[in-house]
């Protein structure tokens, strides 16, 4: 079973984010790390692949500047290889353009199962995995909180407003996993050393047979026209608890007539 995981390398979310002042796109110039959300997908893929003989996990990613540090993290967790699409023409791509690139790259890995996070931590458009599924002609099951497969069918517990649904789909299929679906492993020292020699196939847009005019800012059908500071909440009262914290909250709740 070929399991492909879509992973994204993003600016460290712990660092304050910034926007390019002219294009208003997220500044991704610095060091990029593996999106936390994707660690769940990688772990899920490794576990599912481990249960079906002859399985392999391939990472697919798109990043500027041939960045691979986040991919190495996922390879160190146990993925076998990676496909990275890196091309100056991709700068400014919208989600649909990105989906076209990723779908073309994923197709090369001949996937039985494609796994992605429900959304990235930085851009969080949350539509990309389903766009990829549609481009590849695959069924999709989103918002999985549990996943299992025998190599023929994938069974998913899908989050709903009321609880969850048991959903089944024949492979090949695409599944998006919510954070917390499994506990991601920490790469071992051995894994980190092994990751250094695992293959990362770096491709350009032309390699994928995609017209550069369809992707990047040239192909984007949307633009940011303005970024402004939101109205800040006026400062509240911050007090150190001297054993009276609970009473202060009670008084506040009374004041706003909640109790």
């Amino acid at each position: 079973m070929n399991v492909v995981v879509c992973v994204k390398q993003i600016p460290d979310p712990a660092a304050p984010g910034s926007l390019d002042p002219t294009t208003h796109t997220l500044d991704r110039a610095g060091k990029l790390i593996l999106d936390d959300s994707d660690a769940y997908g990688v772990e899920m893929a490794l576990q599912l692949a481990g249960n079906v003989d002859g399985s392999e996990v391939t990472l697919v990613s798109m990043a500027p500047n041939g960045e691979v540090s986040g991919l190495r993290t996922a390879l160190a967790m146990g993925a076998a290889k990676a496909i990275l699409v890196s091309d100056d023409a991709l700068a400014g791509s919208d989600a649909l353009g990105t989906a076209k690139v990723l779908a073309a790259a994923i197709k090369r890995a001949e996937p039985d199962l494609v796994i992605a996070a429900t959304e990235s931590t930085d851009g969080y458009t949350g539509t990309l995995p389903v766009q990829v599924a549609e481009l590849l002609g695959l069924p999709s099951v989103t918002f999985a909180k549990a996943v299992s497969t025998d190599g023929t069918t994938v069974k998913v517990e899908r989050q709903t407003e009321a609880g969850y649904d048991d959903v089944e789909a024949p492979l090949p299929a695409l599944v998006t996993v919510t954070a917390g679906v499994v506990e991601p492993r920490y790469p071992s020292f051995k894994g980190i050393m092994a990751a250094k020699s695992k293959p990362v196939d770096t491709l350009t847009v032309a390699d994928l047979g995609i017209d550069p005019a369809e992707v990047g800012s040239a192909g984007a059908g949307q633009e940011i026209t303005d970024v402004s500071a939101a109205e800040a909440r006026s400062g509240g009262e911050i007090v150190v608890d001297e054993g009276d914290g609970a009473q202060r909250i009670v008084a506040f709740l009374e004041q706003i007539k909640v109790i």
Binding site: T127, E168, G180, T225, V227, S228, R233, V239, V250, I259
Partner: protein, 323 residues
């Protein structure tokens, strides 16, 4: 170019259309001159009154999906309407589990991009721009489509206030989904409804949420007890959902629910941007956190710098003694 036809992807709730469906219909009325809805399910006719009362003149009925997930068949049905010459200028989609699936599928079928996480729309001289919170809501990004429609916007709950227009029930027009082949092979084989006491998280007037500062999964019961005493709902930060302490359904934030209660009580939550974007619109915010520098205090009306595990039991006792 004036915006004429606005469609709303309508979802069915416990009784009639869901609250976000009504919010989107209300906003649609102020954007376009014709408001119509697209719905699915075995009994779409039962939604017609509620949809009409909020401004929809027509509801396109995809019909019963026979256990299929809505994404593929509903997007296929909309694409078929568009291919047949009946295309909206604008499609408003709720940012729900199924809404996002429909938007993603439709985006590819129509080869049109999608603007997501929209929290505001501004119609000016026939051009529509959308507003999106960034960096936890400290900034607002304004965006627009540059190409041809239909323009698909995926909109977060609570972005608009629902108001009835007093319209007559919407006319139900069948819009069956064409066969989508293998892409439509996923099937719901069983449904599980999780028992919930008290109001829904995104509709509750009081939300009490817990984070890492609770120390362990076991202490989440303090959050549930306080929420119950205040007739509210229990929420959670992403950190403790990721850690497996509580189910995803409780998550408040960018990835989870957007809440705008009368009062939001954040206990042991530092206030990562991921969390703030989902609760910053609350009318009042109370925060309890050990770290005086925690970002949650920047949005709090009342901040208690202290240990949630000391403050919560005292607060629960105080509320109980009031009877």
């Amino acid at each position: 170019m004036a915006i004429d036809k606005v469609w709303v992807l309508a979802e069915a709730g416990d009784a009639g259309p869901t609250p976000i469906t009504l919010e989107l219909l209300t906003e649609a009325r102020s954007i376009g001159s014709t408001v119509e809805a697209v719905a699915w399910g075995a009994d779409t006719a039962s939604l017609a009154a509620g949809l009409g009362e909020h401004g929809a003149t027509t509801v396109y009925d995809v019909g019963d999906l026979g256990g299929a997930l809505p994404g593929v068949p509903v997007a296929s049905a909309i694409a078929a309407l568009v291919a047949g010459g009946n295309a909206p200028d604008v499609l408003l989609v709720p940012a729900t589990y199924d809404g996002r699936d429909v938007a993603g599928r439709l985006s590819v079928k129509l080869n049109r991009p999608v603007l997501t996480n929209v929290t505001g729309l501004v119609a000016d001289g026939g051009e529509l721009t959308s507003q999106h919170p960034l960096f936890g809501g400290s900034h607002i990004v304004t965006a627009r489509f540059t190409g041809q429609g239909p323009h698909i916007f995926v909109i977060r709950a609570k972005s608009f206030t629902a108001e009835p227009s007093g319209g007559a029930p919407a006319q139900v027009v069948a819009a069956p989904a064409p066969d989508a082949g293998a892409t439509n092979a996923a099937r719901i084989v069983d449904r599980h409804v999780e028992e919930r006491s008290g109001p829904k998280l995104d509709e509750a007037p009081v939300v009490v949420s817990g984070g890492r500062g609770l120390g362990s999964a076991d202490n989440y019961k303090l959050i549930e007890e306080l929420a119950s005493l205040l007739h509210g709902a229990a929420g959670a930060s992403r950190a403790i959902v990721d850690a497996g302490w509580v189910p995803y359904a409780h998550q408040v934030g960018q990835t989870g629910k957007t809440v705008k209660p009368t009062v939001y009580v954040a206990c042991g939550i530092s206030g990562a941007t991921q969390h703030l974007v989902g609760m910053k619109g609350s009318k009042n915010i109370v925060a309890i956190n050990k770290d005086q520098e925690a970002p949650i205090f920047s949005v709090a009306d009342l901040g208690i710098v202290g240990d949630a595990l000391k403050v919560l039991p005292a607060l629960i006792d105080a509320l109980k003694s009031r009877g």
